[in-house]
């Protein structure tokens, strides 16, 4: 086995990196793969909470880096899926406790015994972000249909290109088809127009995500959840399957152009 390492990042906080990591991890494990999720947000960990594994933490990523434990000991098995594991972040330390080289070393060790390694990146563009993308084979950029999130995603894509980690692929999260139809939300086409990278998922806004997150389960295991289904589709696309985008086809031109959202501040 040689795992594919995927880093999930966004630049802006609160757009759904951690939720996406948990749901993709569960979806890939549900497809029968062995998946390890790593929380790289040291000092502000929460992937363990979203996956409902907080009370099982004994060792964390920093313990592995500093040699206090074996890698195996820090891997927490998921409650529902036999082949899904979490390596949690340390809550009492900060980003400087881990270097990009440490991340490469740890993931190289994990590569041998897993199919997918998902890294949940912290927000921002500093050390934590660099730690998270250093080992990546593929970077998934997650954004919401709002100008500030798209702007940050653009910045992140630029940084990823500078690190020669490829342009990455885009997940558009929390899309409200109603609002897009009314023209009150940036449309997928407009966002892709600016970011100019491949789309790998469109996740609709879904209450089931919030409910599942608070319960510490993955919405992607809930067959009735629309967002869960969208995450399962992302997992299938990562796996090389051709899966059509449902929401893209619903957008039929009633959207605003990005250029119109920039308000004129004077005359030329």
């Amino acid at each position: 086995m040689s795992a594919t390492i995927i880093t999930i990042t966004s630049g802006k906080g609160g757009v759904g990196k951690t939720t996406a990591t948990a749901n993709l991890g569960a979806s890939l494990a549900d497809l029968g793969y062995r998946v390890v999720c790593i929380d790289a947000d040291i000092g502000l960990r929460n992937l363990d909470v979203v996956m409902g594994l907080e009370n099982r933490i004994v060792y964390d990523l920093v313990d592995v880096v500093e040699g206090h434990c074996k890698l195996r000991q820090a891997m927490i098995r998921d409650k529902h899926l036999q082949d899904l594991f979490l390596i949690p972040a340390a809550q009492t330390r900060d980003k400087t406790a881990v270097s990009p080289q440490d991340m490469v070393r740890i993931t190289d060790e994990l590569r041998q015994e897993s199919d997918w390694i998902l890294i949940d990146s912290p927000a921002g563009i500093e050390r934590g972000f660099r730690n998270a993308i250093a080992p990546a084979d593929l970077v998934l950029i997650i954004t919401n249909p709002e100008v500030s999130a798209v702007r940050d995603a653009d910045r992140i894509i630029g940084l990823i290109e500078a690190e020669e980690k490829g342009p990455g692929k885009l997940i558009l999260n929390r899309v409200k088809p109603e609002m897009v139809r009314r023209g009150d939300m940036l449309a997928t086409d407009d966002i892709l127009d600016v970011l100019a990278i491949d789309l790998i998922g469109v996740i609709p806004e879904d209450e089931a995500i919030l409910i599942a997150t608070n319960r510490g389960t993955a919405a992607s295991l809930d067959s009735k959840s629309k967002a869960g289904k969208a995450y399962r589709n992302v997992a299938r696309r990562l796996n090389g399957e051709e899966v059509p985008f449902e929401i893209l086809q619903a957008n039929d031109g009633f959207f605003r152009r990005i250029s119109r959202i920039m308000k004129p501040g004077g005359e030329r």
């Binding site: 702007r151 940050d152 653009d154 910045r155 894509i157 630029g158 940084l159 290109e161 600016v194 100019a196 152009r257 990005i258 250029s259 119109r260 920039m262 004129p264 501040g265 004077g266 005359e267 030329r268």
Partner: protein, 227 residues
């Protein structure tokens, strides 16, 4: 020989710059160069750039005679030395080029060469946070996304969508222009003028932005009309 002589074609004649050093060395070097390339220099009008070197009328006169023997007409002497200026005036030699560029040390290239600053070619899309600064012209093959900026001393040409910030003529050159296939910048600056993009209607068209009568204006690019 230390630094070599340099020759440039100008509309006034051949501009020969003589490097710093003893005139006793420079004069024979100049004559030797002319002797070696008689075909090139024969019948030429010569402009001599001699920096702050002080030459008396006797020096210049003998040089003029030596050049005349080689069928080279000494037309002007450019120098910052007062002694040389007086000497040149006595001999009836011009002391500046007829072009508006009065400073003697300005580079005046061959007519077959394009005049202007150097340009850089950027073959990628500039994303938020990227910044390009260049004293000359900047050509972008790609988009300038919101949050990215280009600051150029000269013109800026964007073969793509301009949605970020561009400052052309950043050193104060009001004749600078900004060209883009889709000119929708968050902000546009030319020299000291600042403007924002008005709401676009319809499909984007190639446009050029420039200062006209003190106003920053953008208009549709028409290749058949000379600007």
């Amino acid at each position: 020989m230390k630094a070599s002589l340099s020759i440039k074609g100008t509309q006034d004649g051949l501009l020969v710059s003589i490097p710093e050093g003893d005139w006793g060395d420079a004069r024979p070097a100049l004559l030797q160069m002319i002797d070696e390339q008689t075909d090139f220099f024969q019948g030429a009008r010569l402009i001599l750039q001699i920096e702050q070197r002080a030459l008396r009328a006797a020096d210049l006169g003998s040089l003029r005679d030596a050049l005349a023997e080689r069928e080279v007409n000494l037309w002007a002497v450019l120098s910052s030395s007062d002694v040389t200026k007086i000497a040149a005036a006595d001999l009836g030699l011009a002391q500046q080029l007829s072009k508006s560029s009065s400073s003697g040390d300005e580079d005046v290239p061959f007519e077959t060469m394009l005049y202007g600053d150097e340009a850089v070619l950027v073959e990628k899309t500039l994303r938020s946070g990227h910044s390009i600064r260049h004293p000359g012209h900047v050509i972008i093959l790609g988009d300038i996304n919101p949050g990215a900026e280009v600051i150029a001393g000269g013109n800026v040409m964007v073969w793509g969508r301009l949605r970020g910030m561009v400052h052309a003529g950043a050193a104060g050159d009001e004749s600078s222009k900004v060209y883009a296939l889709d000119l929708s910048p968050t902000q546009l600056r030319i020299a000291g003028q600042i403007a924002v993009s008005p709401t676009r209607r319809g499909r984007p068209k190639p446009e050029v932005a420039q200062i006209r009568e003190g106003q920053l204006v953008a208009e549709e690019w028409q290749s058949n009309r000379r600007r």
